[in-house]
């Protein structure tokens, strides 16, 4: 969907320290977050990052805990890269890209320990809350991963836990209080475009990138990382990407806080 000439143009610009839309390499596009977007979800958020739009919805249900974590609720993150969002996406079961997307976001949330899974236990060994976060990209304008990670954590912060009936089944539409979260993990991905380290690419820049590194962080800590792409990073590039991502996450976290009312 991107021509060879466009790719070469973007790469040449990158080598010269420039971007087509004039942004600095570490400059994000405008970030907007709208929580409560999907009324039938227990929590949801629509994230707009330039032309990119990602919706995340959280559904809560009551289920049986895993045998080895019998006192903990269950968090599941799922993503689809469906064809509505991009001519390059296909129908069918999630492929590597969607699976990796879901798993990177899952680890960012899980490893940050922002959710107290023990607080989601209703009856040990028997009944716990199952928290399903579904990521639904609406328009792939580039950098879906960061938008999706922000949408996921914003949607979790939007969650109202339903009340339970006498059979310990959730009563749809009720609210027994918000899901308590301790942190706001933010993924920031650095892309390598012709050797330059670039953040928040549009889809043409992303298609021109040879490697990427996602760094998810909370206040004070990195909590998850994932390198991807067909090429590699030098050690100093990795370190630089981690530092910049951490700093950038601090900025973006403020936008999330405002959106979720913290």
């Amino acid at each position: 969907m991107i021509t060879k000439i466009d790719k070469e143009f973007i790469k040449t610009l990158a080598r010269e320290g420039k971007r087509e839309d004039g942004r600095a390499f570490d400059q994000f596009r405008d970030l907007k977050i709208e929580t409560g977007f999907a009324k039938n979800a227990e929590g949801s958020a629509l994230v707009t990052l330039g032309e990119t739009r990602v919706l995340a919805g959280v559904k809560l249900s009551v289920g049986t805990p895993f045998a080895d974590t019998a006192n903990e609720g269950v968090l599941m993150v799922n993503a689809e890269l469906g064809p509505k969002a991009s001519p390059e996406f296909e129908t069918g079961p999630p492929k590597e890209g969607a699976i990796e997307l879901a798993r990177v976001i899952d680890r960012g949330i899980r490893e940050s320990k922002c959710i107290d899974l023990e607080a989601l236990c209703i009856t040990p060994k028997e009944k716990v809350w199952m928290v399903s976060v579904d990521i639904d990209p609406i328009n792939d304008g580039g950098n879906i991963l960061d938008a999706a990670g922000i949408a996921a954590i914003a949607a979790l912060h939007d969650v109202k836990i339903p009340k339970l009936d006498e059979d310990v089944r959730p009563i749809f539409g009720t609210n027994s209080g918000k899901l308590k979260l301790r942190h706001i993990p933010i993924p920031v991905t650095t892309f390598k475009v012709n050797g330059a380290l670039v953040m928040d690419p549009d889809f043409e820049e992303e298609a021109s990138a040879e490697a990427r590194l996602t760094v998810t962080s909370v206040e004070g800590f990195l909590c998850a990382m994932q390198k991807g792409g067909e090429s590699n990073f030098k050690t100093e590039e990795v370190v630089r990407a981690a530092e910049t991502a951490y700093a950038k996450a601090t900025e973006l976290r403020e936008v999330v806080k405002q959106a979720v009312g913290l």
């Binding site: 559904k59 469906g82 509505k84 001519p87 328009n139």
Partner: protein
């Protein structure tokens, strides 16, 4: 349904205050997904659908290619968080059937013969479900296909009539859907006066059926107007942007 159940329609007033032949508020917008060739957002009350349309484009896998006409693909899906209970991703028997009857509703209005071997594809997703999701999907798909410039004889419009507490009503929703007696979605092509989709569940006499069919057709006419308006608004928007900055790639539009 037991006969002694509490009436939900009291004196021709419906639970949400509508008259028997009144639709829920409709919003429709074209051009909401910049990466798709055409797209639309369509809401009937709290039922919300988006659609992305592509084509004519090269079709994969190749064995689907038809040497004499374009292959029309229509995929209806529900977002996992669109309903009370999470919807498992991937096709279900229900979604497969809805995709198929919806595709058939568009089959006759698109000039498929003009694009042999090509694929024309529409992807519909229900973001929020409160009855008539297949109708909202078809209405969004119509606008998206037109927005993509796919040549069509007419827009397809869709809504449901139903029967609740013995009364024939337009655009069943909420309690009416869970407690009502009949749901009957149709798709209608006004210019040809043709029924392109018709499903009915529940007990109707022949006379009630005729009444419901006429009511649903009237609803479709109202929707048709909204679809046309959305497309007009879209053309004005594009034209004014081109006037402003020349024919550049257009910026993203609000989804809702």
């Amino acid at each position: 349904m037991s006969e002694e159940h509490k009436k939900i329609i009291v004196g021709d007033r419906r639970p949400d205050g509508r008259a028997l032949d009144e639709m829920r508020p409709i919003t429709a917008k074209a051009g909401v997904i910049s990466r798709a060739n055409g797209s639309a957002h369509f809401a009937m009350g709290s039922t919300v659908a988006i659609a992305a349309a592509y084509g004519p484009r090269e079709l994969h896998p190749k064995h689907l290619q038809d040497p004499v006409r374009a292959y029309l693909k229509y995929v209806y899906a529900m977002a996992p968080f669109s309903t009370q209970d999470r919807v498992k991703p991937g096709p279900s028997r229900r979604s497969t059937e809805i995709s198929e009857v919806s595709r058939q509703a568009f089959n006759s209005v698109i000039f498929l013969e003009e694009f042999p071997k090509a694929g024309i594809e529409v992807f519909v997703e229900i973001l929020q479900a409160n009855a008539s999701t297949r109708c909202a999907g078809i209405n969004a798909a119509s606008i998206a296909l037109a927005d993509a410039g796919v040549p069509m004889t007419d827009l397809v419009s869709s809504c449901a009539a139903g029967k609740v507490d013995g009364k024939i009503i337009l655009d069943v929703a909420g309690e009416e859907d869970t407690e009502g007696e009949v749901d009957m979605p149709i798709a209608y092509i006004p210019r040809k006066d043709e029924i392109a989709l018709l499903q009915m569940d529940g007990l109707l006499t022949l006379d009630e059926f005729k009444e419901a069919l006429e009511l649903a057709k009237k609803g479709c006419m109202q929707i048709h107007e909204k679809q046309v308006a959305a497309l007009k608004e879209r053309y004005v928007r594009v034209a004014s942007e081109i006037a402003k900055k020349g024919p550049v790639r257009e910026s993203a539009e609000e989804v809702a």
